[in-house]
């Protein structure tokens, strides 16, 4: 058996701070998220954290550990198990003027909340001519690779990027997770903040049969203890290169980086970080430079976010393309349990696609 992250991440709370604290320390992604919540709650009394098991217990992945003790039960509280209730109540609190950060325990459980997200949070500003807004940030762990079966593994970002009025953010390192989460909470529009739970504890290169790594050796594991923002809508070039552009986000940033290093290809790897609004300039400039574009995501293929990316690249960079845009994705099946690694778009699938796009 490989490790299962269904077992809650054991974290020492990870909350550091105070006047004499060091400026930056090593954090895993859970600790970085916890620190982001701590920092914004400390600065802004209107920030509220709520969700199933987030209060006393501190969340099944421990992301909210210690917050209730520090900020009290009326700012950090457990909720009834009703996702549509959680999001609807958050919208109402937002309408009052608070800045709620609801947690949906697993992204697989966000579907009961769809109506409040799609018909309400996403459209409140538009339909009330800005009278009411929805400054909520819905946090939720997503993605597979933990033997979580069909209901602890999904990547539903494409459902939400299809909805006008919701921003969708996905970090790939502890550093980005904290900076992006702070920026998301401070944003006046609703943000879906999807946390790649496979890399909560460490970067994952897709080799499930090799020992797991933690964040201690990765640059993105160095996280300032205080306040900083990573602006929404800005991608990050993780590796500069000339041969092709690879667009990815979340866990796949690390899987792609591993494949590129092993293959020795001079790829430009772009971590999108925010899917909506998308940093189209960075993408366009890169593809025009390299002439090739590959898109990698774990979510299912049909109508996945890769389809949107592919269309955009084709619309904007058509005359620069030397090969068809290549998509590497999860298959169009539910997430299986035992055949998880056959499903997962891992190093082999990405490597094959890399050969194909470089051959054309």
């Amino acid at each position: 058996m490989t490790d299962t992250i269904l077992d809650p991440v054991t974290s020492d709370g990870g909350r550091v701070g105070g006047a004499d604290a060091p400026a930056a320390v090593r954090m895993n992604m859970i600790q970085a998220i916890n620190s982001a919540l701590d920092v914004v709650m400390d600065r802004d009394p209107d920030v509220i954290v709520m969700g199933e098991d987030v209060g006393y217990f501190g969340g099944v992945f421990r992301a909210t550990a210690g917050l209730q003790t520090k900020y009290g039960k009326t700012r950090v509280f457990d909720t009834p198990i009703t996702e549509i209730g959680i999001v609807g109540v958050a919208i109402g609190m937002g309408a009052y003027g608070l800045r709620p950060v609801p947690e949906i325990q697993f992204a697989d459980y966000i579907y009961p909340a769809l109506d409040q997200l799609v018909s309400e949070a996403a459209r409140l500003r538009y339909r009330s001519a800005g009278e009411f807004t929805s400054p909520i940030t819905v946090r939720s762990p997503y993605g597979g690779g933990i033997f979580g079966g069909q209901t602890h593994s999904q990547s539903p970002e494409g459902i939400f990027t299809h909805v006008s009025g919701i921003k969708t953010v996905i970090p790939s390192t502890p550093y980005d997770a904290k900076g992006l989460l702070i920026a998301a909470i401070e944003d006046n529009d609703p943000v879906l903040f999807l946390e790649p739970k496979r890399i909560y504890n460490g970067p994952f290169d897709g080799h499930w049969d090799r020992p797991a790594k933690n964040w201690s050796a990765h640059g993105g594991g160095e996280v300032p203890t205080g306040y900083y923002r990573v602006e929404l809508g800005k991608a990050q070039v993780v590796r500069a290169g000339e041969a092709l552009t690879i667009l990815c986000y979340g866990t796949m940033v690390h899987v792609v980086s591993g494949v590129v290093a092993e293959a020795g290809v001079d790829a430009e790897i772009i971590d999108l970080r925010t899917l909506v609004p998308l940093d189209i300039e960075t993408i366009e400039a890169s593809v025009k430079k390299t002439g090739r574009c590959m898109i990698v995501h774990e979510a299912t293929r049909t109508s996945g976010f890769g389809a949107e990316l592919s269309a955009l690249v084709q619309e904007r960079c058509f005359y620069h393309l030397e090969a068809p845009v290549e998509r590497v994705t999860g298959f169009d099946t539910p997430y299986p349990h035992s055949l998880e690694w056959a499903y997962f778009p891992g190093p082999v699938r990405i490597g094959e696609a890399l050969k194909k796009i470089m051959k054309d």
Partner: protein, 428 residues
Amino acid sequence: MASEPVRANMPPLSLHVPEPKFRPGDPVDFADVDVPPAGSARRPDTAEPAGRFTELAYTLVRVLDEEGGAVGPWDPKLSPDRLREMLRAMALTRAFDERMFRAQRQGKTSFYMKSTGEEAVSVAAAFAMDRDDMCFPSYRQQGILISRGYPLVEMMNQIYSNSGDKLGGKQLPIMYSAKDHGFFSISGNLATQYPQAVGWAMASAVKGDSRIAATWCGEGSTAEGDFHSACTFASVYRAPVVMNVVNNQWAISSFSGFAGAEATTFAARAVGYGIAGLRVDGNDALAVYAATQWAAERARTNQGPTLIEHFTYRAEGHSTSDDPSAYRSAGEPNAWPLGDPIRRLRDHLIALGEWDEERHERQDKELAAHVRDCQKEAEKNGILGHGLHQPLDSLFDGVFEDMPWHLREQRQMMLDEEEASGRPWARK
């Protein structure tokens, strides 16, 4: 930024956030859990309209008293043989849980969930229903499958996602599906089974069938919209369905107060929907049996649905991923005022002179050995993570009845990929 409170001369509002009585380290005293005497609840005729016995939603239907006697109008008066069968099924459920929990800890599978302390809720209900009534369970009603004689080896095959797994390794462990045992496919998404059970029951009524449906969810799950939609449909169409709420006091780390228990009972939800509501001692197998039998009788005679709250206690962690010592007092399970369901039924049989401690111990040993034998058998089909137990391309089976072109293409891509990879799956 929220504005400063206006109307400064008015008393300030304050938010109530529920808090359980005990946290880790606290001494536990359940003195304020109201336990009415066994036999004190009235048993209405099954033809009585729901509105005439709403008091049953606020008491506890109890049959087994503290001396091991069976008392009052709800005593189902089962034969000693039947009682022993029920005791055996409950003890087997517990033995199975112990073994599979340990298998997960040994790394043989990814996940497991026990039903320790709640065995009566599923076992006695299964005994009280007809074999072909349809069950829509949550993940904690393995006792139904065991009561209906579903082979333990099949359950284990599913838990191991091995080559014998009838679900082809597609589902998380314990998310069984057993149509031929009247057991609907378990979903990981809470409460979804509730309206589905109502729909199945409505269909049975549409077709003039005589089979009824039953469903289960935890008290925490009653907060989901699906629960309330189910109650509305069941009420409107008088669906022949038994709706069970297993109030085991906890939903992972959240106590029942976060589902509304500070304000009223879960059985009281029935009152608002105008359906029959019973609140039952869930650790009393005879009470569970009697309540289920009564509700089934109502359903079968077109009196409509019954909502039964089973008042019980989750004696162990939520799942293998959970450590309850982080959020509740370790003293709770032992202090639970309604005792242990297996011990209570055992004591009843002993009081009847139909059982003794020595037989009980012998049975426990037999059951443990039986489970161990089944486990050996199941492990011949493999355990999770060691080798490829299903054909790789089975990944694509069952998405649709007929496979569309894009899945066929993806299947080929996967097979090519496996070839290119030097077949790590085959080697593992």
